[in-house]
């Protein structure tokens, strides 16, 4: 499905893309410290990766467990290219072109491996990608010549200064990444609007019928796989530049897994879903694990809840409300949202306080000093603290459930109204 529901309003599209460009432009000045700029860089990289992945998952219905193979090999080839560059420092041109080299690498391997994988679809496809991924990863530790073994291969992106550009400073790299991100996103969006892009959807829905309107479903899948591989490679190339080191992990199953998870979390059914997913992915891995030791637990729980209650991912939640807004009924829901937010936060506070205390006890041992939690000090030894946390949690959850019920009812009414409207308009049409 195209991201912008009503293509009628060209202006809306200009605004959206303009805003996107602007956001990319100013981001590093808003979040200006070292870390946040690297995070921004990684977000850009992740966005390309997840969008390319969604070409397979969302648009082609191909569940791949091995997308990291293409981003990763892209990184390696790019890094080799960087190092091959005349012993000394690389030229600005090379560095600027490097992501493309990565892209071509990704494309090459997609052509190579995709040929066998895309012969099949459904679970079989998924399992082949799983096998291929495992093999490539195993290879990566067994062939140090190419993969540099454990240490991976590192390079230096610093170029001879050219109009003040050396790509040493993170900010300069960021803008390179930003440009690539913008172009790639635009290109991938465009792809969804082309004949191949549309037939890809058709293949997802009903590969058999596709063959009876003149298309070779296998070929469609293969081509899409190659295109996806290309963009994956680009993001890989950028990653190589960003980290200046590439290690085996980049082709690892864990990496592929997180592409799948977060693309889905963001919303595979809308073009822009994976963008949200990508942002979350980077934040989760870089910041979340800093925030709390229990991050894996939270991550797992979040996934289960999301899948159960928002199978369309965050994007679908957004679009639902956009729809409501389009029918001018959003305002009456805002109150409910606020209420749920507040109660939800309370519940979260209580629960996470509990979880944090448990983890603290578990990791630091009984004798360990009390734990600081959002400014408060929680003492695992003190029963009162446990009780307090539990109480907050209970109250929070109860009130949240109450708020949710109220909201659900209202929501139902609104949806009914919208259905009705749509029917009317159909008839009117």
């Amino acid at each position: 499905m195209p991201a912008i529901q009503n293509p009628s309003s060209l202006r809306a599209r200009w605004i959206i893309w303009g805003a996107f460009a602007l956001a990319l432009l100013v981001a590093p000045w808003v979040f200006s410290n070292n870390l946040s700029i690297t995070i921004l860089c990684q977000i850009g990289i992740a966005i390309i990766a997840c969008l390319s992945y969604n070409m397979l998952l969302g648009q082609g219905g191909m569940l791949s467990f091995g997308h990291a193979v293409y981003t990763g090999l892209g990184s390696f080839i790019a890094m080799h290219a960087l190092n091959a560059a005349t012993g000394g420092k690389p030229s600005v041109l090379l560095v600027v072109m490097l992501p493309l080299i990565g892209g071509l690498a990704g494309l090459f391997f997609a052509v190579l491996l995709g040929y066998v994988t895309t012969r099949r679809s459904g679970t079989t496809f998924a399992m082949i990608t799983l096998g291929v991924a495992e093999l490539v990863f195993a290879m990566s530790l067994m062939i140090p010549e190419f993969f540099g073994g454990e240490g991976g291969i590192s390079g230096n992106r610093m170029t001879e200064p050219f109009m003040g550009i050396t790509f040493g400073p993170q900010r300069q790299v960021y803008y390179l990444i930003a440009v690539y991100t913008f172009i790639s996103v635009a290109a991938m969006y465009a792809f969804t609007r082309t004949p191949l892009g549309r037939m890809l959807n058709a293949v997802r829905d009903n590969p058999e019928r596709v063959e009876f309107v003149g298309y070779n479903a296998q070929r469609v899948r293969y081509l899409a796989f190659i295109v996806a591989g290309f963009f994956a490679g680009i993001s890989g190339g950028l990653a190589a530049l960003n980290f200046e080191i590439v290690t085996a992990e980049v082709v690892g199953a864990a990496r592929s897994g997180s592409y799948l998870l977060f693309t889905f979390l963001g919303g595979a059914t809308f073009f822009f879903g994976p963008i949200i997913g990508a942002v979350l992915m980077v934040l989760a891995f870089v910041l979340f694990s800093e925030l709390t030791k229990a991050w894996l637990l939270y991550l797992g729980l979040i996934f289960m809840l999301m899948v159960m209650y928002a199978p369309g991912g965050i994007a679908s939640l957004i679009m639902m409300n956009v729809r409501v807004a389009a029918f001018g009924r959003l305002r009456e829901l805002l109150g409910h949202y606020l209420l749920m937010a507040v109660t939800g936060v309370v519940a979260l506070l209580g629960l996470s306080a509990l979880i944090e205390m448990i983890y603290h006890r578990q990791l630091e041992g009984a004798g360990a000093p009390a734990l600081r939690f959002l400014g408060m000090t929680l003492d695992g030894g003190n029963a009162l603290h446990w009780l307090a946390a539990a109480a907050v949690a209970a109250v929070g959850m109860a009130s949240f459930e109450w708020a949710r019920r109220r909201f659900a009812r209202r929501w139902h009414v609104v949806q009914e109204y919208i259905e009705h409207e749509i029917k009317k308009r159909e008839v009117a049409a």
Binding site: A138, L296, V307
Partner: protein, 344 residues
């Protein structure tokens, strides 16, 4: 010779271990089409619960209770979470089990800590089941249980005697695996459950209208699958290691077994596990590499090439990877799997 025998036994027992691990998955994956990524986690859960229960009731009771507990948990999960997701299709099903695997891992670490536990098999199972004795002069012989040390060294040092004990735990493991095979087979053939589920995958309403309680059947099957995982856990945990990483290490290999065997085919999964087990075990014995092969064929390699690690890579080194190679090849050339009924 004795090396061959032992290796064969190792291969078979490893194969059976794989089958034991994957039988539950075969049930769930090929019946319900659910890619249960948390299967390994239930396996781990089985090991830990087994450990704790056995401290109170002893090993044998735990061998029964732990799987039941795990099965119950599995059923609970199906009822409260998986069921909701079922209608959205396989990807969401997969992802929710994915999330579950994280949660289980964390919870296990919270409850039992992050270190390996010392989960000992019962006395009976400690020590060897039988011992193969290879006597340089009077050949191969077999004694049950531990071979007396003096049997293991000859009077004069010239004669070489090798004793290769075969651990009782492995014997037991093989036994249980066989039992599981039987159990699942009965479940699938002697009952209509298999049919009901397959039918429900396409037309749940129709199946209900015919008088079958579909949701309950799904729950039972999922529970049963998890219980099998749990049983495997108790045995795997006591035979090998009970540690938080145990799920990850089993991880994807069990999918290989199921898929190679063929969706919906129990026999296939069985065959696949044995094949993989034996192949992998024997592969370990071979130190051939492309390099050495070339050398044997009289192709001279430049020194540079000679320590190119790709060429130096020996069969034994890649042995643990072979299953995946196997997987890819099978799926490409025989997408139904070895004995598969249908394609994924």
């Amino acid at each position: 010779m004795e090396f061959f025998v032992i290796s064969m036994l190792n291969g078979l027992s490893y194969g059976l271990l794989l089958f034991m691990l994957s039988s539950g998955l075969t049930l769930i994956f090929s019946m319900m089409g659910v890619l249960n990524f948390a299967h390994a986690s239930f396996y781990m859960l089985g090991a830990y619960l087994g450990y704790t229960i056995s401290r109170y009731t002893g090993f044998w009771a735990a061998l029964v209770l732990a799987p039941l507990a795990v099965g119950a948990l599995g059923a609970l999960f199906e009822r409260s979470a998986l069921r909701k997701v079922h209608k959205y299709g396989h990807v969401p099903e997969l992802l929710i089990t994915f999330g579950l695997s994280y949660v289980i891992l964390e919870l296990v670490q919270l409850v039992w800590g992050r270190l390996a536990l010392e989960f000992k098999p019962p006395e009976v199972l400690q020590g060897p089941a039988f011992t193969l004795i290879k006597h340089a002069s009077d050949g191969l012989s077999l004694v049950w249980g531990q071979a007396a040390p003096e049997m293991c060294q000859a009077a004069d040092a010239a004669v070489r005697v090798v004793c290769s004990p075969f651990p009782a735990t492995r014997g037991f493991l093989m036994l249980v695996a066989i039992v599981m095979l039987g159990a699942v087979w009965l479940l699938l053939t002697r009952t209509r459950i298999g049919l009901v589920i397959q039918a429900a995958l396409t037309h749940p309403d129709a199946v209900e209208a015919l008088g079958h309680n579909v949701p309950r059947v799904f729950m039972l099957v999922f529970g049963a699958g998890c219980a099998l995982a749990g049983l495997a856990g108790v045995i795997g945990g006591s035979t090998f290691l009970t540690e938080p990483a145990m799920a990850a290490t089993v991880g994807s290999i069990i999918f290989v077994v199921v898929v190679v065997g063929g969706m919906g085919s129990l026999a296939g999964a069985f065959l696949a596990s044995l094949l993989i087990g034996v192949i992998q075990t024997f592969a370990v014995a071979f130190d051939w590499s492309l390099g050495s092969a070339a050398a044997r064929m009289g192709i001279a390699l430049s020194p540079a090439l000679q320590d190119n690690s790709l060429l130096k890579l020996t069969v034994s080194q890649v042995a643990p990877m072979l299953p995946y190679l196997f997987l890819v090849l099978i799926l490409i050339f025989r997408p139904k799997g070895l004995l598969g009924a249908r394609e994924g």
